[in-house]
Structure formats: structure tokens, C-alpha cells
């Protein structure tokens, strides 16, 4: 049914892009994303894909060329990390507001400064209000699976929004592990032929793209954009269901790991979820009712569903791999705690900012978070609402 291989995250995503065979890829290399573009360009050179590969001079141009290609009616992709995403900024928002179904793998890396090439989520968290669907991946398998699903989500007529698929820089992008690829033909059939909605190149039905839109209609158009994000939620679940039929692997808006009867739980995104699962297993062996909720879809944010999953727990720790510098908390905490407002028997909820600039997060670190939660349950007191995990002070 599928092909068992040893791949790094970047290799897995490049293979997925080859199978998707997009019409246009415009990209600029940046560590740790570089390998994706490098491997994909070899597919182009070797005739393994039909893609028009545009080597641009910057990420601003990469996103601009991708927007141009997508407007013209092409299935268009790019990929980036950190400062590359930052340089795209202006056009990232434009891609979403033009309702272009662009798919972009983002290999998470700390935004400068100080300059750092390693993983944190400051790059994609910074873009959380840009209007893109954001799907986080725990490992190479999920990065691949999420990438394929992203195409169908983005191009759904009820959505028509760009999608970012993330994986943790180096930790996943450069680590080899076991994963399963689907057969090329199956993927191509499942992803399907792209039929654009209002392509510029359809000269019989001319359209205007990107016109001035002032106070007479701008608000209505932004409201429609917001509606598309609301509509994305059921579509993401439908696509996941259909993908499970193809792959045997099931996905939701988030993953619940031993959460059902848990009294204490952490909420986490990305590769740290995998490390935390081992901690949960060990705690369960010791009789501690620990659980985990791994957010897969961060935009649209599944607030109601998360509130339902966490309601009735005694204490929750949210893990943030970026800082909002708002003197309160990280961005994931702000979302989760807001989702919990008004929930009956709402748990005590605290925030941990961790893994900044690639700082390793060990099982001992995560164990200490569960220990803190156990203490909160025991004493009924929250000593610290925000902790910088493992910080030297």
C-alpha cells in the first residue's frame, strides 16, 4: 500500500512536492529549508516533474512570482523559513486576501535577531494573522501527509486560501527517520487536476485582479476572507477523512494523546509533542493521569473543540515555542486560554515558553512541567503563570 523509507523531513517534503507536480514553483533558498528547493530543483532538471521552476532573487520575489502564477491559474508553490518568510511579509497577506490556493512548506526557524538558524516557531507564529491556513507537523511523516492534504484544502471551492505546512527546522528537517510514502500515481489521482476559479489567462472571461478596494467594499471583502477561514475547518476534516482512506493515517484538528481521563495535560505543537508522548507514557506507568493535546491546525484555531477536550481537566500547561513580547504570554497560550473562557470547571492554565533558538527540550524538561501541574492540582495555587523552561537566570 505504501513505501517504507528512511527520509529526512526535507526529503519527505521534496518527494511530496514531486508527487504533487505543481505547475510553478518559485523559491529562494534559506537554511533550514534549502534542501527542499535543492532536491526539488533536481527533480525539475531530471524531468521528474513538469514544473516551471523560477529561481528568484529574494523571498519577496518568490512569493510575488507565486502569487502571479497562482492568479494566472497555475497550481503554484514555494517554501521558506524564518527571515525568508519575513521578507515575503507584504505579499503573504496579499496571497491570502486574493484567495489564492498557494501551498508553502515552512521549515520553522528562529527569526533574527540575534541571528540563529535553529528551530522555534517565531516565524510562522508571526504570520498567524496573515490569513493563511497553518498546519503544524510533529515529524517527517506528518509533514508529508499534511503537505498532500494542504493542496486539497487550499483548492476547495469553499476555502480558496493559501496554506502553510510547517515542520521543526533541523529537528525534523534534517533528521532521518522511518516514514511511508504513497505511490506516485495514487497521490496524483488523489490530489487531482487543479481547476482554477477565475484565472487571469482565461481571456474569454477577463477578470481584474488586485484592484483598489476602499471603504465602500473593503470591509465586506475582508469579512468574506474571514468566512473562508471559518469554512476551512470542516473542509480540513473532510480532506483528512478522505486522506485516511488513501493512507490509513488519520488526522484531526488536533491529536489527543491519553487525554480522555487525564487530570493534567500539556498543549504543544510540532516535534516536542513526540518527546512529550514518551514522558506521558512514563508518567502513566507511575499512575499519574497525564495527557497531551497536540495542535495540528493552528489556523483556523479550533477553539470550541479544544475547550471541549480540555474542559474538566484540573491543570493545563501550554507550551509556546515563541514569545509574543506582550508582557503576558506566548501566542498559543493566548489562544488556548481565550478558548477556555467561560468553560464550566475550567482548569488552571499556565504557559511555558521553551525551545527558543533551538534550545533542546528534553524529557526531563517536560517531566518538570507535569510535576509543576501536579503541584498546582495539589495546592490549588498557581505560583507562576509564565515560565521560561530551562532558562538560566
Amino acid at each position: 500500500m505504501s513505501i517504507r523509507v528512511a527520509k529526512t523531513g526535507n526529503e519527505a517534503v521534496a518527494e511530496g512536492m514531486r508527487q504533487i507536480n505543481p505547475d510553478v514553483v518559485a523559491a529562494y533558498p534559506i537554511t533550514p529549508q534549502t534542501e527542499i528547493v535543492q532536491i526539488f530543483s533536481s527533480f525539475v532538471a531530471n524531468g521528474k516533474v513538469d514544473t516551471e521552476f523560477v529561481t528568484v532573487e529574494s523571498e519577496h520575489s518568490a512569493m510575488s512570482a507565486t502569487v502571479g502564477a497562482s492568479s494566472a491559474g497555475a497550481r503554484a508553490m514555494t517554501a521558506t523559513s524564518a527571515n525568508g518568510l519575513a521578507l515575503m511579509w507584504e505579499i503573504v497577506y496579499i496571497a491570502a486576501s486574493m484567495r489564492l490556493p498557494i501551498v508553502m512548506p515552512v521549515v520553522n526557524r528562529a527569526l533574527s535577531g540575534p541571528i540563529n538558524i535553529h528551530c522555534d516557531h517565531s516565524d510562522t507564529m508571526g504570520a498567524r494573522d496573515a490569513g493563511w491556513v497553518q498546519i503544524f507537523s510533529e515529524n517527517a511523516q506528518e509533514a508529508y501527509d499534511n503537505l498532500l492534504q494542504a493542496v486539497r484544502i487550499a483548492e476547495d471551492k469553499n476555502v480558496l486560501l493559501p496554506v502553510m505546512v510547517t515542520m521543526d527546522g533541523f529537528i525534523i528537517s534534517h533528521a532521518m527517520e522511518v516514514m511511508h510514502l504513497l505511490e506516485d500515481e495514487k497521490v496524483r489521482k488523489w490530489v487531482g487536476e487543479y481547476v482554477p476559479e477565475n484565472p487571469l489567462l482565461d481571456v474569454d472571461n477577463p477578470v481584474t485582479v488586485g484592484p483598489l478596494d476602499l471603504y465602500d467594499w473593503n470591509m465586506e471583502h475582508k469579512r468574506q476572507q474571514a468566512e473562508a477561514m471559518i469554512q476551512a475547518k470542516p473542509v480540513i476534516l473532510e480532506v483528512a477523512k478522505d486522506y485516511a482512506k488513501l493512507s490509513g493515517r488519520e488526522y484531526g484538528l488536533f491529536e489527543e494523546y491519553m487525554l480522555d481521563d487525564a487530570e493534567i495535560a500539556i498543549v504543544v505543537l510540532g516535534s516536542t509533542a513526540g518527546t512529550a508522548k514518551e514522558v506521558v507514557k512514563a508518567l502513566r506507568a507511575d499512575g499519574v493521569k497525564a495527557g497531551l493535546l497536540k495542535v495540528r491546525v493552528f489556523r483556523p484555531f479550533p477553539a470550541r473543540e479544544i475547550a471541549a477536550a480540555l474542559g474538566g481537566k484540573k491543570a493545563i500547561a501550554v507550551m509556546d515555542r515563541s514569545d509574543s513580547f506582550n508582557a503576558v504570554s506566548g501566542p498559543v497560550f493566548a489562544e488556548v486560554r481565550s478558548a477556555m473562557y467561560g468553560v464550566e470547571n475550567a482548569p488552571k492554565i499556565v504557559d511555558y515558553i521553551y525551545g527558543i533558538g533551538g534550545r533542546d527540550v528534553t524529557m526531563d524538561h517536560i517531566k518538570s512541567v507535569y510535576d509543576d501541574l501536579a503541584k498546582i492540582v495539589k495546592t490549588g495555587q498557581v505560583e507562576r503563570a509564565l515560565t521560561y523552561l530551562g532558562i538560566r537566570e
Partner: protein, 191 residues
């Protein structure tokens, strides 16, 4: 957890520690087991001390933190013994595999492992690679030594997978020389 095996490779950038870890993971994965391989990325300059890691298990591995308590330590460059703390986090009954012309007894003394609980293996992998491949690239023979010392793979499994992997990049005669290096290392590694 008990069945999770962790390995740390010490090398200098350019010596192939990362490649060796990747080759090992791929070979283990091809036997149906689970494995991870990942390097530590620091300043990228030739000759700088660096580390690479493996995890090996019969069941899927979800941990994605650094390896802190490796059961097996492999040192590709003997000069690292005085630079890197090769014993860091290793249990008393850990396994050390060192590329050096010195004997296992001499290394045991150097590393203060004379109580005998740890296993120490040595091999002059640099000399073997010069003799066979013609260049000082110790990572390939060290793979042969690792397999001999630990039984992680059979010699045939290692050679079979290495042949496939190297054939994608190297001329057939160079592939043969690498295989010869593995065979010699498998014979010559000593404890």
C-alpha cells in the same frame, strides 16, 4: 524505553560522522527496525569538533530531543579524546569504539575506565581507509567495526545496504574499496 538504543558519534566536520549516522540509520531501517539519525549543527567549519546521533528501536521512536545518555560512543578522530568529553552521559557499562592506533587497554587507561564495566574497542580506521580507499576517511571502516562490536547489523546487511547507497554516488571500483575497508575493519577491531 528499555529497548531504545542511543549512539553518539564524535567527529570533526568533514570526516563523515553525519554520513555514517545516516548510513547506519538507513541500514537499520532497511531491516524493518526503527531508527533516527541527526547531526548537531553548529558553526559549519571544516575540522571543528561535531557530534551526530542515532536512536534505534524495534518500535516507533517519537522522541525528538538530543541524545544525552548514549549507550554507544564512537570517536572518529583520536585527537578529539582530549577535546570532547566522550564519556558525557554514558552509563558505566557503555560501549566505546575509538579510531586510534592505540590498544583498547591503553584507551581504557586514558579514559579512566579501568574498572572494566565498560566495553572498549579500538581500530586504526584511518590507516585502513588510507590502505583501501586511498584517503583518510575513517567513517566507512568504523561502520564495519561498529557492526562487529555490537551486532547491530550482520556484516552482510551492512555491506548490502552500503553498496546500494554508495553505488548512487561513486564509481564501482571505489565502492569495492569501501566494502573492502568495512571487511578489514570487521576483522581487525579489537577489545
Amino acid at each position: 524505553m528499555a529497548k531504545l538504543l542511543e549512539i553518539r558519534w564524535h567527529g570533526r566536520a568533514g570526516q563523515g560522522a553525519k554520513t555514517a549516522a545516516l548510513v547506519l540509520a538507513e541500514a537499520v531501517i532497511s531491516t524493518g527496525r526503527h531508527a533516527q539519525a541527526f547531526p548537531e549543527y553548529g558553526p559549519e567549519r571544516m575540522g571543528a569538533p561535531m557530534q551526530a546521533f542515532n536512536r534505534i528501536s524495534d518500535v516507533s521512536i517519537t522522541i525528538h530531543s538530543h541524545v544525552e545518555r548514549p549507550k554507544i560512543v564512537i570517536v572518529l578522530d583520536p585527537t578529539l579524546m582530549s577535546v570532547a568529553n566522550v564519556k558525557a552521559g554514558v552509563p558505566d557499562d557503555g560501549i566505546y569504539l575509538i579510531n586510534t592506533p592505540l590498544s583498547a587497554a591503553e584507551i581504557r587507561k586514558k579514559l579512566k575506565l579501568e574498572d572494566g564495566k565498560a566495553k572498549v574497542y579500538t581500530l586504526d580506521a584511518t590507516q585502513i581507509s588510507i590502505d583501501t580507499i586511498g584517503r583518510p576517511i575513517p567513517n566507512t571502516p568504523m561502520m564495519g567495526a561498529l557492526v562487529a562490536a555490537t551486532g547491530l547489523l550482520t556484516l552482510d546487511e551492512l555491506i548490502g545496504d552500503t553498496r546500494i547507497k554508495l553505488a548512487k554516488k561513486l564509481r564501482p571500483d571505489i565502492v569495492d574499496k569501501n566494502i573492502e575497508a568495512i571487511r578489514r575493519a570487521y576483522q581487525e577491531v579489537a577489545s
